[in-house]
Amino acid sequence: MLLCVTLPVRSISHLLELGAFRPLVSVPGYSTRATSESVKFCIMVSSTETMEVSKFTKLNSARKSTPCSTNVRATPDIEKTFVHRVYDAIAPHFSATRFAKWPKVASFLNSLSPGSIILDAGCGNGKYLGFNPNCFYIGCDISPPLMGICAGKGHEVLVADAVNLPYKTNFGDAAISIAVLHHLSTESRRRNAIEELIRVVRKGGLVLITVWAVEQEDSSLLSKWTPLSDKYNEAWVRPSSPRLHNSVALVLEQIPETNEVCSATEISKDQNALPEDGEEDGGNDDTLAASIFNGVQEDAVSSGSGDVETNQEYFVPWHLPYHRAEVSGRLTTEIANGLAKKDDKKGAVVYNRYYHVFVEGELQRLVAGIDNVKTVEQFYDKSNWCVVLQKT
């Protein structure tokens, strides 16, 4: 029988780490719709499979170690695995390749008065630190290796979390967040990061935010990205997997209460048709399984273009050439864990970075929910959505 499930993104990464996705098989022609907070996919479940209650208990205790809480400041596993660890691994290469100064950021920085204190939250390799020599910059990033590289260049930096900045309120004159927010996996965290940027600048202070747009200028770029659902598809489409039979229970444990069942109707390729609720072909579900599927989507963001099927969750590859790849034992472990893959054709190790790319209007919607801020400028430039905000 066919069952469909919507999982919060946080749960997916936890389950991935548990290896729980192996038995899930994609059903051709079915929608794998993703919102900003969750991914929906369909699985084939044998009606004869039994769910073992004991497995649920085991997983419940495993779950405690993961911040599956609703605390917006706790880092979700998907970010730990596909943002933090990846940037740590690629830091020197990433730093060496990030040197072009984006004109819009440059002009923003140059517009600030001499003597300004500028905070760069998510500063990466410190490309913009010290850009306007009349100002004092403090950069922070979640990646210690990247901060080490910045410090080596003489920049003033710290290791910190953009969702919880360690700065006093009202201190900075300006703040920038360049290509950062799209690495945050929930709408609440993205909004929280903007609130932090506003909090740390003085009244009247300016904040520049840029994020990757779904609406890429080079649309062929999207074909190089893996939509979140495809990635998990890849991880769990293993028809020959020996774990095919028993692990469905592992998947189900994470999903609370209500039942959502798809009809067997084929969904069109452009994903416009929504799956209908209804009884499943092939008889009665296992009630235990059925009771656990969940249709809840947390903080779902409707896309500005009006098309709720627009996928905004992607894995974007980073190719780390073999000659640059660290030769520590860590690389071998990362490949073994599925964090990285070797691409002999390209002579590189491929890492995937998690992105939530923004649709038109989405940044503005996030800002609309925040007090004491006004939008000074908003624009699209080189496949990025950008805003300049002012603290009021």
Binding site: N134, P144, L158, V159, A160
Partner: protein, 125 residues
């Protein structure tokens, strides 16, 4: 980490209301020359928490570098010698190894190779 940065760091552990200033423990520090810019110094002075700066300078052993009481802005603007001492404390002293300690929780944020690590543990957010 410069003392200007120290002046703006606060403990962001959930529920903490008295997390500033962080007490500076300096195990290793160096002095690096920075171009003197009077305009910058005069501009940044109003933002500086003077007692926190004095405390941090003292943690590095500089007990008489800065006056205990915050100078009047007009005095600072005209007194070049005082301005230079302010410059030295704020921008030239770098803490390379040490820690920043929250006054309320005593949580210590380490400083390694000049970089403070302000990341919180999961139970602190």
């Amino acid at each position: 980490m410069r003392l200007l940065t120290h002046n703006m760091l606060a403990c962001n552990i959930k529920g903490v209301t008295n997390g500033y200033p962080l007490r500076l423990e300096a195990e290793k520090w160096v002095e690096k020359e920075v171009d003197f810019n009077a305009d910058f110094l005069r501009g940044v002075f109003p933002k500086i928490d003077w007692p926190a700066l004095v405390g941090a300078a003292r943690a590095l052993g500089f007990h008489d570098l800065l006056p205990v009481d915050a100078p009047d802005p007009s005095v600072l603007a005209s007194d070049d010698e005082l301005l230079r001492r302010f410059h030295r404390a704020l921008l030239q002293l770098h803490v390379e190894e040490g820690g920043l300690v929250c006054p309320e929780t005593s949580r210590r944020f380490p400083i390694n190779k000049g970089i403070p690590n302000m990341l919180l543990h999961e139970d602190e957010v």
